[in-house]
Symmetry: C2
Subunit: 381 residues, 2 copies
Amino acid sequence: MSKSNSVKIGVIGGGQLARMMIVPAINLGFDLKVLAEQEGSSAGLAATTVGNYQQLKVVEAFAKTVDVLTFDHEHVPLEILRRLEAKGVNIQPSSSALAFAQNKLHMRRRLAELNLPMPDWSSVKSADEIDAFLAEHSGEAILKTPIGGYDGKGVRAVTSSADASDWLAALAGFGGELLIEEKVDFVREVAQLSARTPSGEFRTWPLVQTTQSNGVCAEVLAPAPGATNEMLELAVAIAAHIAEGLGVTGVLAVEMFQTIDGRLLINELAMRPHNSGHFTIEGSVTSQFEQHLRAVLDLPLGDTSMTASNAIMVNLLGVDDQNSFVENYSKAMAAHPNIKIHTYAKAPRAGRKMGHITAIGENSAEIAASVWQAFGILVNG
Amino acid sequence: MSKSNSVKIGVIGGGQLARMMIVPAINLGFDLKVLAEQEGSSAGLAATTVGNYQQLKVVEAFAKTVDVLTFDHEHVPLEILRRLEAKGVNIQPSSSALAFAQNKLHMRRRLAELNLPMPDWSSVKSADEIDAFLAEHSGEAILKTPIGGYDGKGVRAVTSSADASDWLAALAGFGGELLIEEKVDFVREVAQLSARTPSGEFRTWPLVQTTQSNGVCAEVLAPAPGATNEMLELAVAIAAHIAEGLGVTGVLAVEMFQTIDGRLLINELAMRPHNSGHFTIEGSVTSQFEQHLRAVLDLPLGDTSMTASNAIMVNLLGVDDQNSFVENYSKAMAAHPNIKIHTYAKAPRAGRKMGHITAIGENSAEIAASVWQAFGILVNG
């Protein structure tokens, strides 16, 4: 049976984000192919290639099977992407946008050029430079490796250059410099999710409040409780400025600190569907995963209205190497028939992102109680 | 990477219903395997076996790879299912329930035993018996082949036994008898969707109004406009009585005629997710596809509340052997960002069920206008 007019999307990376992109591909009748790192990956159902994304040959062969390349993660070497782009491969977001997602110093420099609000920051290459920055910032700062960090990795609080001796010793591996940032006295963290097409259409979801635990997202509330119209407009303006200024296509997540005086300071960017947007699967007319596919195909973007007044998402982090949460489904489903459970078919490991649960509804306290009770059952049985 | 505790569901049949079951399997982290009739089927993404479901060996080998067997269609020979059940294979719904879905005369006889409301009906084996039934029913009736009919096939209006000469000549192939039913003077058709677990939990979605065109579902409105509480309760009671009385597990669709005097008469049954329930993907907290998986696994059932006051679903039937609708996505999405488009990756063919579109919202007139306008764009470009 021939499938005429089939649209082929290639996703590099076989993690849960690729897995969740399979759903809108099924709905919309697209052919989604995954280049997975290994057999049995979370997105293994759609894996048409298992190989190393750091090898040009592997990525190039995969690219030939699809109409557009996009990503589950931001780790594909830019050099590979640039060479494929030079040969006419359609890559969304492009290597020039991804450069800012792959290197936090490049990102800070570009955001500074765009006059976007950020914590004080500096590039540092030595213990002296770290201590000088600390001296100017009450003796506390956040030190980051410019490349390779995620989910709390490559980020640490420092009060002395002595806290950075290992990273300083390995400086060459981080591109010769580290990023140091002021420790922001924030009242909460928020995230602005958006999507942009190559043609320039841009849409946002409501600003959300995120709560991190040990550097990993634990809970997301949508919309961010008590946000003023002024703050909502500011968040959208920041996201639009970044998306255009950095040439981002597809989904963009902008994680920000909200300060006590009502400013928003840009913390991190992600140029792909993001944990802060998982609530959109049930909570929005168009999920971030569908929107990402539409955006990278340069199709018109979908309605981002919420499907209920409130949504709450809680991550299921692995508790040990046994509990996959599935064994507790029966008890959790019986007690909470309204909860939407997502697990990613990953082998259990403590701290690993194994899944998430979402509830939507008109009463935010009710859905929060329900989702956290279900969380307790899934974790503890 | 090992996936401990993985739950394996086998679906016989690679059509769009199996395709749409892949989505909740991804969400819930289940391993869904499909036994497809051929390469390139609608549910091909999850096809682990391509073979003939009419061969015991094929079905038996497939059954060994899963924890439970269920269905995309009702055509698997009962004898195969009975032999596998005798060997301990978990099949939901069971062969004893499916017997009533496979043979409309068995179904009528069982519903009669249960005192359920139906059109007048009779089994007929000859031209004389057809003419006698017609004489008692104003000269008009609906004649059905007891086996093998769907989507308007195997059903015809008759005014004389001469209209049935071909079927009478082929009577042995239909089990030796035909089903004849009074032509009901209905004001509309409605469908009651429900799900039941092997443990006996039973849940229903709101009653919907269905509109058929040439025997194929064209439009579904949820909830059925203007239904009285009395009618809603009656529909639920009928569905519960059937599900228990016939031992149905998984999703059950009961298609009924609403008469001018407010009665509901059972027309057809389907023991699987059904076209009248596609609106539940966006329109209900728990879709019929997720509920079917939960039910066949004997997990607690999900909340069937609607996510908005109203939902409308319109089928995308093939217009010719070229138009796959995907080529008109851009125009339809630009005009109607709220519409959820589903296509089934089938080769285009006139009249074929190629996809469907859904809108949800508070204003039924607005969403109907939107979905029908999007339909026009997808069909005509």
